[in-house]
Symmetry: C2
Subunit: 328 residues, 2 copies
């Protein structure tokens, strides 16, 4: 199995974070393999050693049967709201630390870079540097403040990714919502899937795919959020309401062939609908490891859903990732 | 076919709206069967005559083969942010006008009431009055400002609905989101389904169904938004993250049997997944008529999805609605 969606968070000290930006996150190692991601004085999320230690991750991969894993930043590391120069230096440092993490076994742990997406020139420069030092692709958030993925600068960045043959993983972050979402991880359960759908629809309904190169490999996390479920609603709206189709010349679902998703949907019926909507060649195995909202028994959903179909299992669990990320 | 989700908007004049509340909507009849819902001086939405004229709606129902239709307020009529006394008087007036609309053929046009949900006592009183004059049930928004459906007052209201045997239709409104949603009806395509899911999860994850009577009939619009698609993600989160299950003693998906949804999902694969998740006896035909984001060829999705299964067609297109709304 090749897992294209997994996270790391390096051992950033409080001092290093404070020197980078007052909003930079850091890791409090609380012992016994546990820790806390901190924002200033405030705990952000309890985490475990496999998040910052590549050898621990490898042991988990051995136990779970994951051959290769692509790791990327935990989104709290993005720094998109910081001053561009600070964010650029931070992204470079995080990308170096990602390779340190992968050094535990560079054949099995691969990295996706982060970039300072609030500064497109700096983002393109860091993308080039990351590729030159061994990153396989790049992870971006689904928006930068009020700029969605159809922002002209972000589209320039995506073109640069295509030119460099660097696949893009889009991850939801900085979630919409209000005080009604304070409990029960509702931002992760409600707003993250909506954010991902919003990112995909921003590309589709703006007509951006008419101008982006077909060589762009763009993968959306968590099965593309709510996108595949709601594309019928979007097609119907496009057909019957002028303002929905104003900038999008073709039926929205026709652009499914320009996007990929991971398999992290946690339900066999949902996975079948996802594969039916996106196409089996555009669904890539992803666990969201090592977080509790990820797949705890990696590959079991795909295996259960396609128990009778070895071809689908192979495509989703490894073949598609080999093709998209150029793995041997 | 019995359509349980359709809207009306009465011929409110500018003067009547202004006298009710500065935020009250009104109808500009622009002639030739067209109009605009207005908010003060600003156009809110272009609409057609069947929205305010019951006879026009009946002609449409004849053409489309809809035997009975339940009509409810267009959500811009809710008035939940107004002073309670104003909202109570407005709700009573709208409920009277709903019955005027249905008077075109009271055997085929039935009304769901609206209530001033910011004032629970007033909402319960208007619910009782609406039932006494012939309303079949009540429509509410999925939230009142920052109060979700698990608000103690709203739960009291839902108990009162159960006591009176008045089914509840929950409709998304007042959608989350920011400047990234200004185009292409994104609030309707992204935020409405998220709002509905948030309403359902607020009841599930708060443990409210442990305290609500099982006789409560509660139906969520647009197939329950993103709920059925994401319930696997929610179950996984509940199983592996303590703060998700803090107030919810059972697996979230086990509460599907306490909720119903309409069939307005616009995709056969989505409808099959919805029926598989919620159960065929809990999916009720709904068109979202007369809006362009509704089903333009009523019943065609159900007919196409269950071409080989007359039992499913009958349940979804009429049987479930007869049972839930007590239609003969």
């Amino acid at each position: 199995m090749i897992d294209i969606h997994a996270h790391f968070f390096p051992r950033i000290t409080r001092e290093e974070a404070a020197a980078a930006d007052p909003r930079a996150p850091w890791l409090a190692d609380t012992g016994d393999g546990r820790g806390q991601i901190m924002l200033g004085e405030a705990p952000f999320r309890p985490v475990q050693q496999s998040l910052w230690d590549g050898r621990t991750r490898l042991a988990w991969m051995d136990e779970k049967g994951v051959a290769i894993q692509l790791v990327c930043a935990t989104p709290v590391m993005f720094g998109y709201a910081w001053a561009p120069a600070r964010a650029a230096a931070w992204a470079a440092r995080m990308n170096d630390l990602a390779l340190d993490y992968c050094a535990a076994d560079p054949a099995r742990l691969k990295a996706l870079a982060q970039v300072p997406l609030q500064d497109i020139d700096a983002a393109c420069r860091e993308l080039e540097r990351a590729k030159s030092i061994g990153h396989l692709g790049v992870q971006i958030g689904n928006h930068v403040g009020e700029k969605s993925l159809d922002d002209p600068g972000i589209l320039d960045f995506l073109r640069h990714c295509a030119d460099l043959a660097m696949p893009v993983l889009v991850h939801p972050w900085d979630m919409m919502g209000d005080a009604r979402m304070k409990k029960w991880m509702l931002p992760w359960l409600v707003a993250m899937p909506a954010e991902t759908q919003l990112g995909m629809l921003s590309l589709v309904l703006s007509g951006a795919f008419e101008r982006l190169p077909k060589t762009l490999a763009i993968v959306f996390a968590h099965g593309g959020g709510s996108f595949a479920w709601l594309i019928g609603r979007v097609d119907n709206a496009w057909a019957h309401r002028d303002i929905v189709r104003a900038d999008c010349p073709r039926l929205p679902s026709s652009y499914c062939e320009r996007m990929m998703v991971d398999s992290a949907v946690f339900d066999p019926g949902a996975l079948r609908h996802l594969v039916g909507t996106m196409g089996a060649e555009r669904v890539l195995f992803g666990t969201d490891a090592p977080f509790p909202l990820g797949e705890q028994s990696p590959g079991s959903l795909v295996a259960a859903t396609y128990a009778e179909d070895a071809g689908q299992r192979e495509r989703i669990l490894s073949g598609n990732a080999r093709r998209v990320f150029g793995l041997g």
